[in-house]
């Protein structure tokens, strides 16, 4: 009973944070399961991935209700993220991951400071680039970030949301809403692969999904009303945390 409540609260907190920021919630669930519950990372990741599929339905509905989702952009993002993940997973056998992690941790630090310093985007202002150009740029950017995410083993949202906000100058609410709509498609492919390989712990899935489906709704609802400054600070903290987490492993290995 206690375990059930603990996993339920894990899903709930991942749903609230993920829904609020437009992320899947893996950044909460995986450390929760590995550090607090003592689970192996190979058990935690597949369970978290299956919960992310459901969180996308829950959180994105709140953004859809407020018309904060660019469905067309979402479809393009999904296709090229999945293609990027597939390419990255093949490249991971060739490219040494540690150097990429170190290099990317520096890029993430730079992104964090650019993100917090960027002025608010006016949603009413005309887009600086044409629709076709921004779809083209976004497919290139997401393909590249998909590759990097697969190479260094982190979720796509923490990279893609700041990149789309900084490069394409899209309003932060639209970027978060669109990504919350999109990540479920990419996560579904991974979940299916884990499922075929019999890597999903079936007993852990129900309480986490019940938690995340409720948390995603609450987080998504809060996210539609969030002040950009608060979201920026939350992303700044997450980017710094991810940058140090990425750099820690390779640096510790060098000593």
């Amino acid at each position: 009973m206690l375990d059930l409540l603990i996993y339920l609260s894990c899903g709930l907190s991942a749903g609230i944070v993920g829904g609020y920021l437009g992320l899947g919630g893996g950044i909460i669930m995986v450390p929760f399961m590995t550090l607090l519950m003592g689970l192996d990372i190979k058990t935690a990741v597949p369970v978290s991935m299956s919960a992310i599929v459901v969180n996308s339905i829950s959180a994105s509905n709140e953004y859809l209700k407020k018309n904060m989702v660019d469905v067309e952009l979402g479809l393009v993002l999904a296709v090229f993220t999945v293609l990027g993940y597939i390419t990255g997973s093949y490249l991971s056998d060739i490219i040494p991951g540690n150097y990429i992690k170190l290099l990317f941790s520096v890029v993430l630090l730079y992104t964090a400071f650019s993100f917090i310093r960027k002025k608010k985007t006016n949603p009413e202002a005309p887009q600086p680039v044409s629709r076709g150009t921004y779809l083209f740029v976004s497919l290139f950017v997401t393909f590249l970030t998909g590759i990097i995410a697969a190479l260094i083993g982190i979720g796509g949202g923490i990279i893609i949301i700041p990149v789309l906000f900084l490069v394409l100058n899209l309003p932060l609410t639209v970027v978060r809403g669109t990504w919350s709509f999109t990540y479920g498609f990419a996560a579904a492919a991974s979940t299916a692969v884990y499922f075929i390989n019999d890597r999903i712990d079936l007993a852990l899935v129900p309480p986490i999904i019940v938690g995340i489906i409720i948390g995603g709704k609450i987080g998504g609802w809060l996210g539609t009303m969030a002040k950009p400054r608060v979201v920026k600070i939350a992303f700044f903290i997450l980017l710094i945390y991810t940058a140090f987490k990425l750099a820690y492993g390779p640096l510790a290995g060098m000593q």
Partner: protein, 96 residues
């Protein structure tokens, strides 16, 4: 000329229905685990299959909305995504 946008209300209705459906399904599975009944594993197993299936259903609904608006490019992107997902899964299954 501005292009027609898809009907968001239909997507919201679909997501709302799926939200209730999935919460009911997994709450039932969690309850069965709590009662230590054998059916719990089957419910959890089927639930994961359903979660993947509803993701494909979302894509079909979006693609069909684009088809109705005669926006073939996005309709094709939607079906391309389904194809990529299925090919990824099938290839993984075949290489087991």
């Amino acid at each position: 000329m501005s292009e027609m946008q898809i009907n968001i209300k239909n997507l919201v209705k679909l997501h709302t229905f799926l939200w209730y459906f999935l919460i009911f399904w997994f709450a039932l599975a969690a309850l069965l685990y709590l009662l230590e009944l054998e059916a719990a594993e089957m419910f959890s197993y089927t639930g994961i299959v359903l979660a993947i299936a509803v993701t494909i259903l979302r894509l079909v609904v979006i693609s069909e909305q684009f088809r109705r608006l005669a926006r073939k490019r996005f309709q094709l992107i939607g079906y391309l995504l389904i194809l990529i997902l299925l090919v990824t899964v099938i290839l993984k299954y075949l290489t087991l």
